[in-house]
């Protein structure tokens, strides 16, 4: 019999409604999985056992009363620890916010509570979502469930790992330059970044406001679509929240790719991308072609500058976003004789080296005399990237590429070389700069047995098309491998 922790959200929903299982059963299965995997994985910073059990009981009562808030009711879900949860510590993996308990729920969190989701806990990340491995967490590195000596990717590595091993059935992360898709690829799960503005950022601890977007992790494309539906929607608390009609996400999952125009991005199939990953990407492109898609090569000429532009824009925004962490009103404080000194010492002690590096970089890029050469130039590149996408979408419905240049790398392999670490996001950053939706779907494993992610990109608000193609990729890939950690018994 299948362990309940391994059910898809769709199947779990069916069994909840048939009465075969209860929300408490699902939570207990997740809790058991947490107990077995966490000592090896460290995906969570906080597990909210009491809260989850209480919610599960309330949900079961609702089911008995015939109340049904939709597909996420009773589903155990994990949240990246940069999403504010009322009454539950939210640290963004920073010493600065160690022990801070938000007095409010972010909008996405509130939507999940209203949908009856059982929130199991808060997952590890690179401090303030800055990093690609979780090695920048102030509270320890999470492990890759396929090989515990390797990183799970980042910054949402905890959420990716949790979904991969079944300690949650779905999870949410935030994606600023690839922080959902890259760890999803490295952990062999589906990870999706929605169109900018589709999910409210209210209550998401900001890294780079013009790029940040909350999105789902799941073990199937359909589950990911259901998770996104649970949080998307206009929010009066977010001035950048989309105001128009929201795309439907699950309607086209069975439609296939026949007649669709698929562009494979030339610049993301270069030598710097691991050859096994390129081969897997090419193989999937061929399968899509066989399935009736018209696969063509397209060019995004500005993408070679996208990474550099991103590493000016994101640090510039973060240098202001993180200024509020000054020890005055909340979080940790290092006492000193004057307020200025207190703020300086608090920030020096509270931020880790990567966050400090980015704040300094961003401050510099915005300084008088440097603004035009750095921040101004980066914004112009961003415009060019957008134009490149627009041109590409004139002749294609979706674009495809690898999600990452490598599969999961060893812990410590890139910590001394920030540029090499930054390169982990080379394939994912363009979609953030453009504000477009993008998804990573696992399509196979490399010779080391590590999962390979396949990225699909669509124009803004093209979620329906994106999930449609992703569902076909999922069917064609027949990816069924699970990490060895994904079992509820002591094997590791």
């Amino acid at each position: 019999m299948t362990d309940l922790a391994d059910l898809s959200i769709v199947e779990a929903g069916r069994q909840l409604r048939s009465g075969d299982v209860t929300a408490v059963d699902l939570w207990e299965a997740a809790a058991t999985r947490i107990a077995y995997t966490e000592p090896h994985l460290h995906a969570f910073l906080t597990v909210d056992r009491e809260g989850a059990l209480a919610t599960a009981k309330v949900v079961d009562a609702a089911f008995r009363a015939g109340e049904d808030a939709g597909p996420l009711q009773g589903i155990p879900i994990a949240l990246k620890d940069n999403m504010c949860t009322k009454g539950l510590a939210t640290t963004a993996s920073s010493r600065m916010l160690e022990g801070w308990v938000p007095p409010y729920d972010g909008t996405a969190v509130a939507n999940l509570r209203n949908a009856g989701a059982v929130l199991v806990g808060k997952t590890n990340l690179d401090e303030f979502a800055m990093g690609s491995s979780t090695e920048n967490s102030a509270f320890g590195t999470s492990r890759n469930p396929w090989d515990v000596d390797r990183v799970p990717g980042g910054s949402s590595g905890g959420s990716a790992g949790s979904v991969a091993v079944g300690s949650s059935m779905g999870a949410f992360g935030s994606d600023t330059g690839g922080s959902i898709r890259q760890p999803a690829a490295l952990c062999g799960v589906v990870g999706m970044k929605p169109t900018y503005g589709l999910v409210s950022r209210y209550g998401l601890i900001a890294f780079a406001s013009s790029l940040d977007q909350i999105g789902p992790f799941a073990r199937s494309v359909e589950d990911a679509a259901l998770l996104l539906e649970g949080v998307a929607g206009h929010d009066i608390h977010d001035a950048t929240s989309y105001r128009g009609e929201y795309p439907t996400l699950t309607d086209g999952l069975e439609k296939g790719v026949k007649g669709l125009r698929v562009g494979i991005v030339k610049e993301l199939m270069v030598d710097a991308i691991d050859s096994e990953i390129r081969a897997a990407t090419r193989a999937m492109a061929d399968k899509l072609s066989d399935a009736g898609a018209d696969v063509v090569e397209v060019s995004l000429p500005s993408s070679e500058y996208a990474l550099s532009a991103y590493y000016l824009i994101a640090p510039a925004e973060c240098s202001a976003n993180l200024a509020r962490l000054d020890g005055v009103r909340y979080g940790n404080r290092v006492p000193a004789d004057t307020t200025d000194e207190m703020m300086a010492k608090t920030r020096a002690a509270g931020f880790g080296p990567e966050v400090t590096r980015r704040i300094l970089l961003g401050t510099y890029a915005l300084s008088a005399g440097y603004y035009d050469a750095f921040y101004g130039q980066a914004q112009r590149v961003r415009t060019l990237v957008r134009q490149d996408f627009a041109t590409a979408y004139e002749q294609t419905d979706v674009l495809i590429s690898p999600t990452t240049p490598t599969t999961a790398f060893e812990i410590g392999a890139k910590t001394d070389d920030p540029i090499a670490m930054y390169y982990s996001d080379v394939c994912t950053i363009p979609s953030n700069l453009a504000g477009d939706p993008s998804i990573s779907v696992p399509v196979g494993v490399d010779t080391r047995g590590l999962p390979i992610g396949f990225q699909i990109m669509a124009p803004a608000l093209g979620e329906s098309m994106l999930f449609r193609v992703a569902a076909e990729v999922e069917r064609l890939a027949e990816f069924s491998a699970r990490p060895s950690l994904a079992v509820s018994k002591e094997t590791v």
Binding site: C84, P102, A206, A239, T240, S319, V328
Partner: protein, 482 residues
């Protein structure tokens, strides 16, 4: 060498009295318990983001329109970065390029001379919280600790920046006063200087005559009244002139106006040039103020103070009376209604700005607390025009009406103040006095016009003071000239 000339520019901050703050739903309220009107947004909790308040945007568009500005259809918010404990985000959301309004102007009048002050820009931003330093004397460097109140944090703030067009402290004061009137007329703020809902910063420099280059300027803060604005600028002009004449140099700095001592004091801030690292606010989209919105604000614009004053002068009041009436909505309203009800504008203006104001001051009352109505003023005016009441008596009657003793006619009759202006009756009285005083009349007829007063006095005596002296005087004169 040419005379020294001052070059002055004024930056004015106006807190808008909107229902909610600039970027969150908290109430804009004053004098409440500290930190009661706060939320994650105005406390800058992690994850909280701003949403602009449409009512505040409407407010700044009103101000910009009244100042003849160009309203930018697409306007941008920026982050102005600096660390200060009362600024919870450690950046202020403000504007930089593409403010809501640019290229405006305001005409003021000083000593009867019109003068145009250019308005560089009017932009939208948010207010900070307030710090209170606890310690020996409440000053920051002696404080043992500081307390912060974020009730004001995020209150909508409009900044109005002039061109360096102003040349005298009197002009500066006139500009400040006119701006305050406009803001109050628009109803967007109570614009109280002493409470800080309107605040001036004065940029002052001096130079050798109108053709010289601008000198180094100082910025004077903490000016809490129009009078202090004028005094502070006068002090700064004198100080700078003295320093330069003694061969010294003006340092570009921020100075603090000390009201008690009547001096500006250097705030001794390290004068490194502050780099605010402005960049476009990524939490917000460009603000769109379309043509329809701009047109509606223009159409709904109330009569501005200058328009009102011009209208009053057109009705017949003198400039000073027009200004007093235009400055006080209650008095101006009474005046408008009285004139509409038929009162003589000149007469009504004088009664209201002199007798009524004196009564209110003496009795420490507001107009609504008195019994006076516009109909009363009109009635009073009609009685004087008809000659039923002397101008002197009218003041007594007006005071009695204010006190609630009745209508003007009731009071005049009760007090027996109705004038005799029956010319047949008065002519008989005049003839009787002449008959009794033939010698005096001969002097008068001989050209000694001083004697008119004597005859008028005699008639007043005979009529118990009720004769219309104007009419009597005319009759006596006619008779003398035979």
């Amino acid at each position: 060498m040419p005379e020294w000339e001052a070059v002055i520019g004024i930056e004015t901050h106006v807190e808008l009295q909107t229902n909610s703050k600039m970027f969150c739903g908290c109430a804009v309220a004053f004098g409440e318990a500290p930190n009661t009107n706060t939320c994650p947004v105005c406390l800058a909790l992690p994850g909280a983001i701003p949403v602009p308040n449409e009512e505040a945007i409407e407010g700044i568009v009103k101000i910009g329109t009244a100042l003849d500005s160009t309203i930018n259809k697409d306007s941008l918010f920026y982050r102005k970065n600096y660390f200060y404990p009362d600024l919870p985000k450690n950046y202020q959301i403000s504007q930089y390029t593409f403010p809501v309004c640019e290229f405006g102007k305001l005409e003021i009048v000083v000593d009867g001379e019109p003068f145009v002050v250019g308005i560089t820009r009017v932009h939208m931003e948010e207010d900070t919280g307030k710090s209170r330093h606890v310690g020996e004397d409440g000053r920051i460097h002696d404080a043992s600790h500081s307390l912060l109140d974020f009730n004001r944090s995020g209150v909508p703030l409009v900044e109005i920046v002039t061109e360096p067009d102003i040349r005298t402290a009197e002009q500066a004061r006139a500009y400040g006063a006119e701006l305050q009137r406009i803001v109050r007329t628009l109803g967007v703020s109570d614009a109280r200087l002493e409470e800080g809902s309107m605040r001036f910063d004065a940029n002052v420099s001096v130079r050798r005559g109108p053709d010289a280059e601008f000198g180094t300027r100082t910025e004077t803060k903490n000016v809490n009244s129009l009078r202090s604005l004028q005094r502070a600028i006068t002090f700064e002009i004198d100080r700078q002139t003295r320093v330069l004449e003694e061969g010294g140099e003006i340092i570009q700095e921020t100075r603090h106006w000390n009201e008690d001592k009547g001096v500006t004091i250097s705030m001794r801030i390290k004068e490194e040039s502050e780099d605010y690292r402005y960049f476009q606010e990524p939490d917000m989209l460009p603000l769109e103020i379309d043509e329809a919105w701009q047109q509606r604000v223009k159409a709904e614009q109330p009569e501005l103070p200058a328009q009102k004053r011009a209208r009053y002068v057109g009705l017949g009041t003198d400039a000073h009376t027009a200004e007093l009436l235009a400055d006080d909505p209650a008095l101006g309203g009474l005046f408008d209604q009285a004139v509409q009800a038929g009162a003589n504008a000149k007469q009504a203006g004088i009664w209201i700005t002199q007798e009524v104001v004196a009564y209110l001051r003496r009795e420490e009352k507001s107009l609504v607390e008195t019994a006076l109505s516009a109909a009363h003023v009109a009635e009073l005016s009609e009685m004087v025009s008809a000659g039923d009441l002397s101008s002197t008596a009218s003041k007594d009657v007006l005071n009695a009406v204010l006190a609630g003793d009745g209508t003007p006619r009731e009071i005049a009759e009760a007090k027996d103040l109705i004038q005799i202006s029956d010319s047949g009756f008065l002519e008989a009285e005049v003839d009787a006095v002449i008959a009794d005083n033939t010698d005096a009349f001969e002097k008068l007829a001989g050209g000694d016009m001083k004697m008119i007063g004597f005859f008028v006095g005699q008639v007043m005596k005979r009529t118990g003071g009720k004769a219309d002296p104007r009419l009597v005087s005319e009759m006596v004169r006619n008779k003398a000239q035979g």
